[in-house]
Subunit: 420 residues, 2 copies
C-alpha cells in the first residue's frame, strides 16, 4: 500500500513483448493497492539509433536539437506502455517531461532537474490512473526539451518520487546490491538494506547499479529506494511486503538499518594509474604547485601520499588519477619539472584501488588495522591509503586485486553461509 | 524576396543524405533573401513503423497515446534538418507543434488546426533564423499532442504560411499540376496557374497532388500555393522569380490568372459504382426514402439521375457511390425494398466518372454541349451527368475511360503543342 514510482530501463522495454512484461509488474503493484507512476527509458537501441543520426547530420551538432531528436525515444516507449496498460484494463496515460512539467536548467545534453510540479501527476495517481512518465528528459528555461545525459532515467525516477512523495523501485538487470562483485567473490551476499552514504561510495567506485546523481537526490529528499530485478517473473511470490521489505536491496537512512554491519561491502576499481614524483624539494607550497595545475586542467586526483626522505630536505609525492587521464597528467607535471624541481617522474598503470565501505566504521575502531593485517598476511603490498568517514581505500598491484577482494570479504565476515 | 514556407514530405527527408538535399533547397531560398520556414514530415517509413508498434501494443489503442507515439517521427526529422542547416552555416531551429504553438481541436488522430500563434516564429524568421516546424501535428485543448491525420503536413504548411503571412511551396514527387494524368494522356501539359476552386475539384477527384483540406485552407486565407518537385536539383536554374512565377504550378485567386482557359483540366475516377432502382413508384418523398437511410449510414452519394417511365407512374432512380461502399449501399437499399417498393435493384462496378474542370465555364456557354458531342462522336454512352459551377462530370463504361479522357483533352484544346 502507498505511492510508488517504478523505473524500467531500455532493455526492459526493448520490444512490445517486454513492454507487456513491464505492464504485468505494474499491474501487480496496482492490484496491491499502490498508486503507481512508471518511468521508462527509450526502447533498447533506439537512443543509439537517434544519436547516430544526429552524428551523421553533423559532427558538431546543436545540443538543443540533439535533445529534441533523442528525447523522442522515451516519448515512444511511454506511449506504448500506456497503451499496453490500458489494453490490460488499467487506467494509464503517458506524460512527457514538458507536460508534467519536469523543469531543468539549460545545460542541454546534461541538464539537471531544478523543479518538478508533481501536483497534476499526484492527483491523477490518487484517482487511480497510472502515470507513465518519460525518463531522461525535461524542459529547459528556453521552453525546449532537455535531456539529463545517459543513465538520467534513474535520476528522473527519484526526482518524480520526491515530487509526488513516493517510494521508488529501480528495476535493473541485477536483483540487488551485493557485498562484492559476484563475478569475483562467489560468496558475495545480496545486501538487504544499505545507507545512502554507502551506496554513494559504491556507486562512485564503479558499482554501476545506480547512477550516482540519483542516489544523491534520493539522499537529499529521503526517497526510499529499492534496486530490484526486472527479469524476475511479475507473478513471482517474492514481492514487496507491507512492512517495507522487498526482493531487492533497499537504499535508505542508516537509522532504518537495524543490524548494521561494520563493513557493508568491498569495492574495487582497476581504472587507476599512479604517478610518483621523486626528490621533490620539501618546502611549503610545493603541493599546491603540483595539484593546482592538475585541477586547472580538470584532472581529478584521488589518493595522495607524501613522505619525507632521509635527508629531510626532499620528499616523494605519490598520487593517483583515472587511468584514461594519466597521459594528460604526465604532460602537466612534465611541464612543471623546473618549477617544482623533482628528480624523477615515475608512473604505473598496473595498479588497482580496493575499498571497504561501511557506516559501522564510524563507531568501530580497528577496522583499518584489520584491513592492513589481512592484506599483509597474503603478502599484498599497500602502495597508498586514503580514508573517509565510511570508507578505507588502498592502492595495490593490480595483479592482486581479486585475491585482496576475496581476502577482505572473508576478513570482515561478509561471506555467505553455505546453505545446506 | 519575401516570406516563404517550404514543405517537404517523408521521402524527401528519408535519410540524412536526402535531408542534406532539402537543406540545399532551403539554402537557395535563404540566399535569395527570403525569410524561410520549413515544414517536414517524418522520415519515410518511420510513421509506419511507429503505427505498427501501437497496433502491436493493442488493436484498440487510445488515440491520444497513438498521437504521442506517432508525432515523434516529425520531431526527429525536424531536429535533424535543423542540425544539417546549422552545419551549412544557416541559422535554424526546430519547432514542435506545442512549442509554436499550433493549437488544434481535441479530435486525436484526425485533429483540425484551430489557431496558430505565429508571432514567435515570425520574429525569429525576421531575425534570419530558419524555422523548421514539425508537420502533421499540434497541441490539443487537453495540452496533449494531436496529429492531423495522414497527409496533414500539407495542411500544417498552409496554416503556418497563413499565420506568418507567407507564400507556401509544397515540394512533392511531381513537378506540378497537369491538365490531365500524364500516364494516360501523353500530351498533358503542366498548368502554370490554377484557381483554388479548380484545384479543390481536382483534389477531390483524386488527383493526389495536394491534400484537399490544405487547398481549402489556402483558399480561405488566400495563401499563394505552389506545387513543385523536390527531386529537381537544388541548384537548377529553373527557380522562383521575383514576379512570383516559378518552376511548378501556382494555386491562386482566379483574378491572378491572366489567360484563363475555359477548361483547365480533365479528371477521372474509377473508384465508382452505380446503383439503379427500377420501377420506383413515382410519388413525393420517395427520394428522401432512398437517400435519407444512405446518409444515415454515412454513405456519400455522388451522382443522382431520376427519369419517369412511360406510364408516368414509375421512375428509375440511378445514383453512384464510392466502389468500396457499394456493398453497404446495396444492403441499406435492399432492406428498404418493401418500404420503397422498387421492382428491380441493379448495380455495376465497371463504371468511371470523367470530369472537365474550369472556372472559364462560368462565362462560356456550350462547354457541356462540346463534351457530350465529343463523347458521342466516339460512341461513348453517358450513363449519368452532374454539373457544378466549374465542373461537368459524366458517368461512363469504365472500359472507355482512357479514350474519353484523351478525347476531351483534345476537344478542349489542352493538348501540348509538339515542340519542334
Amino acid at each position: 500500500m502507498g505511492r510508488l514510482v517504478m523505473k524500467f530501463g531500455g532493455t526492459s522495454v526493448g520490444d512490445i513483448e517486454r513492454i507487456r512484461n513491464v505492464a504485468r509488474h505494474v499491474a501487480r503493484e496496482v492490484a496491491n493497492g499502490n498508486q503507481v507512476a512508471v518511468v521508462v527509458s527509450a526502447m533498447a537501441g533506439q537512443t543509439d539509433r537517434l544519436v547516430g543520426w544526429t552524428r551523421e547530420a553533423s559532427a558538431l551538432h546543436d545540443a538543443r536539437e540533439y535533445d529534441a531528436v533523442v528525447a523522442s525515444g522515451e516519448q515512444v516507449s511511454a506511449g506504448l506502455l500506456a497503451i499496453v496498460l490500458q489494453d490490460m484494463g488499467i487506467p494509464a496515460r503517458s506524460w512527457q517531461g514538458w507536460q508534467v512539467p519536469i523543469r531543468t536548467d539549460g545545460m542541454h545534453g546534461a541538464a539537471r532537474i531544478t523543479d518538478i510540479d508533481g501536483s497534476e501527476l499526484r492527483s491523477r495517481m490518487e484517482q487511480g490512473q497510472v502515470a507513465v512518465v518519460t525518463g531522461f528528459q525535461g524542459i529547459g528555461p528556453d521552453n525546449r526539451i532537455t535531456t539529463l545525459g545517459r543513465g538520467g532515467s534513474d535520476t528522473s525516477a527519484v526526482a518524480i518520487a520526491a515530487a509526488v512523495d513516493a517510494r521508488c523501485d529501480i528495476y535493473t538487470d541485477v536483483d540487488g546490491v551485493y557485498t562484492c562483485d559476484p563475478r569475483i567473490v562467489a560468496k558475495a551476499r545480496k545486501i538487504a538494506r544499505i545507507s545512502y552514504e554507502e551506496m554513494l561510495e559504491l556507486a562512485s567506485l564503479g558499482a554501476k547499479v545506480l547512477q550516482t546523481r540519483s542516489v544523491e537526490l534520493a539522499m537529499v529528499h529521503r526517497v526510499p529506494l529499492q534496486v530490484r530485478s526486472s527479469f524476475e517473473a511479475p507473478d513471482s511470490p517474492n514481492q514487496n511486503t507491507q512492512d517495507g521489505s522487498g526482493p531487492g536491496t533497499f537504499v535508505c537512512d542508516e537509522e532504518e538499518i537495524v543490524e548494521q554491519q561494520v563493513v557493508s561491502g568491498i569495492a574495487y576499481s582497476k581504472d587507476e594509474a599512479k604517478v610518483m614524483l621523486v626528490g621533490v624539494p620539501d618546502r611549503p607550497g610545493v603541493s599546491a604547485g603540483i595539484f593546482g595545475p592538475l585541477a586547472e586542467q580538470g584532472i581529478d586526483v584521488d589518493m595522495i601520499v607524501q613522505n619525507v626522505s632521509e635527508d629531510g630536505e626532499h620528499a616523494d609525492v605519490t598520487f593517483t588519477v583515472a587511468e584514461r587521464e594519466l597521459d594528460r597528467a604526465l604532460q602537466v607535471i612534465g611541464g612543471l619539472k623546473d618549477k617544482i624541481g623533482f628528480s624523477r617522474l615515475i608512473s604505473a598503470r598496473d595498479v588497482a584501488k580496493v575499498s571497504v565501505i561501511g557506516i559501522g566504521m564510524r563507531s568501530h575502531a580497528g577496522v583499518a588495522a584489520r584491513m592492513f593485517s589481512a592484506l599483509a598476511e597474503k603478502g599484498i603490498n599497500i602502495q597508498a591509503i586514503t580514508t573517509s568517514e565510511i570508507k578505507i581505500s588502498v592502492l595495490i598491484d593490480a595483479a592482486y586485486t581479486e585475491l585482496a577482494v576475496r581476502t577482505l570479504h572473508t576478513a570482515y565476515e561478509l561471506d555467505a553461509q553455505d546453505t545446506v
